[in-house]
């Protein structure tokens, strides 16, 4: 079943009265439930814009022809208001960013609990959910540390646990390994892979990093605001071990 269906997605950014940029020039995309997909492409290819639209941070152009369609879990998203998109982001989406983006004044636990609170979980329950989510990424003992007291890898794991605390339909990553060294980046990637395999978590990652792409089931290639390629991993049984990360086995899809 398709977790996410996008049709005719366009996005034009007006830079000034006469100058506008078409960041997304009409994209059709389907992401299956339980799939782990990488969106790759050079800078300015529209991959971030696509992620912002799929992640409901921005709405697609509404006046364009043919009409844009966006469904998540079968629900229509194109007509949602800003607050409707916000609610959907809170309860149905998890985000992991390149620069971790934790709130600096809050502890690891509070950062994770904040996302639960935004999804409507009351304070005490949010705290205990956050504790569980931190334990799942192996950071139970770092719960009361501020972001500045954590390493980059640890911060990104906190961010991952924050993105998971509400058991979202969709986990979105924007260059999640971009600020990490090879070792940490492998760790984070292995963690995402495991989430996908063990919990069936649907994951969409925007990345430059070929290793990230190699760890995914499918790579969507973009250029000039359009999807130019869809590379699917061979339908061979996926190796259970994280060595999969370093052994790309991709064929054209």
């Amino acid at each position: 079943m398709a977790m996410l269906e996008g049709r005719n997605l366009r996005k034009t950014y007006r830079l000034s009265r006469r100058n506008s940029v078409e960041a997304l020039a009409g994209v059709d995309i389907d992401i299956e439930t339980g799939e782990m997909v990488a969106i790759m492409g050079p800078s300015g290819s529209g991959k971030s814009t696509l992620m912002h639209i799929l992640g409901l941070l921005h709405a697609p152009d509404r006046e364009s022809e043919p009409e844009a369609e966006l469904r998540i879990g079968g629900q229509d998203m194109t007509r949602l208001s800003d607050s409707g998109r916000t609610r959907m982001r809170a309860a149905g989406m998890g985000f992991v960013f390149q620069s971790f983006n934790l709130v600096p004044t809050l502890t690891a636990l509070e950062n994770v609990a904040l996302a639960a609170e935004y999804a409507g979980v009351p304070g005490r329950a949010a705290q205990s959910k956050a504790r569980d989510a931190l334990a799942a990424v192996g950071l139970a003992d770092r719960a009361d540390h501020r972001p500045t007291e954590l390493s980059g890898g640890e911060q990104q794991r906190v961010a991952i646990s924050r993105s998971l605390v509400n058991q979202p339909k969709l986990l979105m990553g924007d260059e999640p390994t971009g600020n990490l060294d090879t070792k940490r980046s492998t760790e984070v990637l292995a963690m995402l892979r495991r989430l996908n395999e063990e919990r069936g978590q649907t994951i969409v990652l925007v990345t430059h990093d070929p290793e990230v792409g190699a760890a995914c089931d499918r790579i969507v290639r973009m250029r000039d605001g359009l999807i130019v390629g869809n590379e699917r991993r061979a339908l061979v049984p996926r190796p259970r071990r994280i060595d999969a990360v370093s052994t790309p086995a991709l064929v054209m899809g």
Binding site: H52, G55, L57, H58, D82, S83, T86, R87, R89, A90, A91, M93, G94, F95, F97, N101, L102, V103, P104, T105, L106, E110, L114, A115, Y118, A119, R162, S163
Partner: protein, 390 residues
């Protein structure tokens, strides 16, 4: 707790902002306490004049202690007029021989026949200890002291008190009224007349008979009587009298009260503008610094309303802290000033619970209202743009 942590990120800036509000609220508390006191005097004065016409010699004029004597015979003339229920002739003598020059109510010795008002006086003074004067006290050297005066003089019930060189026995001490009787000594009319005669210049005094004197008369109009017509009739008497009604009093004193209240409103407005602007400035800077953070919160599902609530609450906390500090500082000033003035009877301030509550509520609301503008602009940030902000 989280709010305080947010506020302590920029300690100096937060402290300075709070200090700005503190000073504004401090000024508000001090001025409002002063206004309370003044308005209290005025309204008790105003209440005092209701249903009365105060008659004094024309040369005395206005309010205050009548210093030019009126012939007691005038009382009978007025009593005979239509629409007069009672006439209560009194003598009032300053407690201190030295001219009183200060703020607040001067201490006064009032001499009158106890029942002369025929129960029409509504000021409702009561004895806390001992008793009030009665008509039977006429001719005796007895007195009832106001609560403040008794405390200042350190004189207890049954002791003897020296009133302008004459020893009086204290037969009662009044319950506090928070108005002029607190600083007064009540004596029988005859005793008061004797004291009054002594205050007059010897050349004048020698020609007068003490028992014929009054310094003012309180005329109680009968129910339904035309007060204006009555004052006209009194003014028309050959004795050259001046009359004072509650309307006259309100008119005279009302302008003073207006100026006072204008000062309070002025202080409130200035602290509103200065405090409010500094909160807006502080919160706007916070929002700019935290643009990225606001982007994160929006991205992971924090609603606009929630962002606004967080920031407005933060601004409100600045307001509460500033308000409480300002109130504390104002209370200290009021207490010290009242303590310093107590010996001279100059109680300048009255910090009521209502004023205290108002000051803190005012600064809290001020903080929150000032926080709305920056909070609104924060809530309207595009999460994607905000996340890119460096």
């Amino acid at each position: 707790m989280r709010l305080l942590r947010e506020l302590s990120r920029r300690r100096l800036r937060t402290t300075l902002t709070i200090l700005g509000i503190t000073i504004g609220i401090w000024a508000l508390v001090v001025f409002a306490s002063m206004a309370n006191k003044v308005n209290g005097y005025v309204s008790s004065g105003s209440d005092y004049y209701v249903g009365k016409v105060i008659v004094s010699d024309a040369s005395t004029g206005g309010i205050g202690v009548g210093v030019v004597p009126i012939d007691l015979a005038v009382a009978d003339e007025i009593r005979a007029m239509p629409g007069v229920a009672a006439v209560d002739p009194q003598v009032q003598v300053p407690f201190d021989a030295v001219e009183f020059s200060g703020f607040g109510m001067p201490s006064i010795i009032t001499g009158r026949v106890a029942d002369a008002d025929q129960g029409l006086d509504r000021s409702g003074v009561e004895a806390a200890q001992g008793r009030l004067l009665t008509a039977d006290d006429e001719g005796l050297l007895v007195t009832v002291l106001g609560s403040d005066l008794a405390r200042e003089l350190g004189i207890a019930l049954g002791e003897s008190v020296d009133l302008r060189g004459v020893a009086f026995e204290v037969v009662g001490i009044l319950a506090p009224t928070l108005s002029s009787p607190d600083g007064s000594a009540m004596v029988p009319l005859a005793a008061g007349q004797a004291l009054f005669l002594d205050t007059l210049p010897p050349t004048l005094g020698a020609a007068l008979d003490a028992s014929e004197l009054a310094s003012q008369m309180i005329v109680y109009p009968a129910e339904g009587a035309d007060q204006a017509a009555l004052t006209e009739r009194i003014d028309a008497l050959p004795a050259k009298l001046s009359t004072m009604t509650s309307a006259d009093f309100d008119q005279q004193v009302g302008s003073t009260t207006l100026i006072f209240n204008a000062i309070i409103i002025g202080v409130a407005v200035i602290s509103l503008v200065v405090g409010g602007l500094s909160v807006i400035n502080t919160m706007a800077m916070s929002v700019t610094e935290r643009t990225r953070e606001i982007g994160i919160k929006r991205a992971i599902g924090g609603s606009r309303r929630r962002i606004i609530r967080e920031l407005v609450a933060e601004a409100g906390v600045i307001g509460v802290i500033g308000g409480v500090l300002g109130l504390a500082l104002g209370a200290i000033v009021v207490l010290l000033a009242n303590e310093a003035g107590r010996s001279s009877g100059t109680i300048l301030f009255d910090l009521t619970p209502l004023t205290a509550l108002f000051a803190v509520a005012f600064s809290t609301i001020l903080g929150m209202v000032a926080g709305i503008v920056p909070a609104w602009s924060a809530a309207r940030l595009d999460p994607v743009q905000a996340l890119r902000y460096e």
